[in-house]
Amino acid sequence: MYKIAVLGDRDSVLGFKALGLDVVFAEGTEEARHTLHQLARGGSYAVIYITEQLAAKMGEDIARYKDQVTPAVILIPGKTGSLGLGQTALQSAVERAVGADIA
């Protein structure tokens, strides 16, 4: 049985707590990085949602989990709205598969 974690700043992710997800607050990049690896290492989280605001400076840390089945690290927009990073990740996956940027 796996769990779902949501990682982000307090105001963006507090609401997920009511849905029954495990909410972890992180304000700075360093803290977020540390927390992400800790969550991933435990192996009990299959999905970790992280706000784009935090993820913006953690490209390498997130890329590390790309080829592993667990956890799936998924970007969601934080309270200040979408930064378009999710789209960028999609783009880069396409680029990786095709070997060229198609649309």
Partner: protein, 234 residues
Amino acid sequence: MPSATINPTRMELTRLKGRLRTATRGHKLLKDKRDELMKQFLEVVRRNRELRAKVERGLEEANAAFTVASALMSPEMLEQALLYPKQSVELDMKFKNIMSVDVPVYAFHTRNEDPTEIYPYGFAQTSGELDTALEALSRVFQDMLELAQVEKTMQLLAEDIEKTRRRVNALEYVMIPQFQENIKYITMKLDENERGNITRLMKVKDMVLKEAIEAKRAKDAQAMEAFAARRGSV
């Protein structure tokens, strides 16, 4: 340029021909695999794009309602209202096989029987906007989970396509040409040896013939001499 270490022998030639056959067949199979993976991948990408747009829109709505709620309530009250959730979500993960890539399939179930039971607070001390925010969140959550599944699938497929693509290219542009080159080299070398052998045999034959003729001539000359001597003495 054939590698310097190959032996120009018939055995090596047979071996290389076998490997070339295997490589050609593998190349064809991998190419088919890549094409099918690509087809699946593009479908997943399309679905991912849809879901992401939907999730981002939904979360924006929820965040807007949440901002209003947190403006109306004090941060302590808000925290207190949400601190102890009534609901808890567990995730079930199964695997689906797409062209020998294992991709996850998520299914979640809530511990509380009633999935709409998401308000962990009494309604007396909280504002209605909080209810709206939580409702919006719970609505978007189903899509969020599917987004996670699709996005992971996409990443795993992308990795596998990259790997397959490299293999196809390595076979097509390195292995197969190299085998062909080596086979050609060995065939030419063997033919060359064959020709060398024939010339050598012809040469030897010439030499043997020459010797035989000379021996014969010497014998004839001797005979002639003997004949002449006998006539002289008679």
